[in-house]
Amino acid sequence: MSAEILATPDTGAAPVGHYAYDQVDRAFLHDRVEQFRDQVARRLSGALSEDEFKPLRLMNGLYLQLHAYMLRVAIPYGILDSRQMRELAHIARTYDRDYGHFTTRQNIQFNWIRLEDTPDILARLAAVDMHAIQTSGNCIRNITCDQFAGAAVDELLDPRVHAEILRQWSTLHPEFSFLPRKFKIAISGSPNDRVAARFHDIGLVAKPGRHGTVFDVFVGGGMGRTPVVGVHLRDNLPEEDLLAYLEAMVRVYNEYGRRDNIYKARIKILVQALSAEGYREKVDAEFAAMDRARYRLPPETVAAIRARFGTPVLDAPSDAADRLAEARRTDALFDRWVRTNTHPHRAAGYISAVVSLKPDGGIPGDATSAQIDAIADIADRFSFGEIRISHMQNIVLGHVRQDQLHALWQELGRAGLASANIGLIGDIIACPGLDYCSLANARSIPIAQKLSARFANPALQERIGDLQIKISGCINACGHHHAGHIGILGVDKKGEEFFQLTLGGSAGNDAAIGQILGPALPEDATVDAIAHLVDAYLVHRTDGERFLDTYRRLGAALFKDAVYALA
């Protein structure tokens, strides 16, 4: 794997939904595991100091967190197959404490890993074409993608082939292993942004153009200490220039991005410093001067990569939709779950199902080994063995026959995975926070648990409607609080936890950064405050208005009073 895109012809059956590795990929992964095994041995013998070893372990996804090592495993564009999923369950069961945590970057983290076990774990992952490379460090990180890619009815173009092309381009790119800072790319093929394209270093929206695929390009978005909504850099970038143009974008960043101050090192700061216009000029100049032939992405390469993706045969019986309608009529609980936890599919008789990892009072994104296995089994039975991790920390089964949806839902129920709350107040994003994270100021998970227990009533959740609560335990904003309709940020006051509320953020097409409502509150008061915010919304909303719309229409004062006037 290098800057050149490899596309050797495939022999075996490709997994549905993601790219089939070839022998070159496999040999590379094997070598990386053995290299790390040797590094671990040298660390344990004392031949490598912690300072020498730390960057090496981070390159392999291994962090040292509060209680133990944490291993972050890459799930390229959030898609894996049931065989890989079962391996994750096996790792959780054997090497961790029987669970894993799915993250907003569509990866999985294990929280209780032993250093000495890590080479074996990486070897097991490599055996199923998985790894932990590029999950840390100042490189191009896992490329995230629409969780309904290749399935959604509103999609113009399946972005996964291009996600894979970008993965190959960025993996171990010789120039881009030591960027000024980490670099995150998201890609979507739908006009409805489900990947937070405007909150990424580079956000791409693929669509059909007059002469083939083209891309809208956003740059310089991000969360963290300085949240920025990305700017629209250009329209209609032709597919054959995709790599050349991105290469130029990253080169300009690599050359001009600041390396003296980690808080000013992300591309968003550079774009602000140069202005969008200034940055675009530099990129265009680089693009004009570079060896374009070398980076040209010809249609044949795209086709060759596409050929290594398995495609599902979508042949639902003609009465599939009727049978779903019938099941909904006779089973009210199922009907509720279908209302909240499904997404329309492009193919007749099919639907996408969202498995909520947000049980009432539970830990957002956590799944036990048994649940991970159950999801693998359910995917095999109902969705071509294909599994997607969403940036909302849920799981999507992309291609489910409508007449089989009821049976799928019953299986989910048996695994404790049938919460009907997608997009509702119970569908909370929370980062690991102070319960695990060594950078945290405050705990995120307990607030998520208290809120989800408080609003557990499904009828109440449906009445409140679309409301995204996002919680980060510190200003790094891993929980996307800046983009939450209601954001919660943990702050540290003399060693005690406090929480700051922000309102009005959004990650979609109407991307916006939430504004701070008022002084930070202690934990229980924060939970009460959110109940007051919801009450105020329910009183003042007009028909069909989301919380976010009411807030935008009426402004902060009303909500501020609801929280602070009572005291």
Partner: protein, 112 residues
Amino acid sequence: MDVRNNRRQAGGSSVVTANRLLDGRIVWLAEDGAWSGRIDAAQVFSNDGIEAVIDTATRRQQADGVVGVYGVQIGDDSTTPVPVTVRERIRAFGPTVHPEFATLTEGPPDVR
């Protein structure tokens, strides 16, 4: 080491902590320079002399198989050392969201 993890007031007392190299688990410096997984086994030092203790322990890191040695201020008013910050209480007693992982079954499970 992050100053945030290392803040102390003059006059108080502290314990010394690190993570074990092999498995990353949290350990506390106990009597005789041994490292224990339990904070109730930790030796309590007056803050006046703590820097020297941390220095010595840091120099022995590799031999002892630990990483990231630092001092943790504790409250004055209990028999089991209880750190003054939430962060260190979570390290000492385990993640609050998994009571079954509590490091001391008889220790104070509520870190708040």
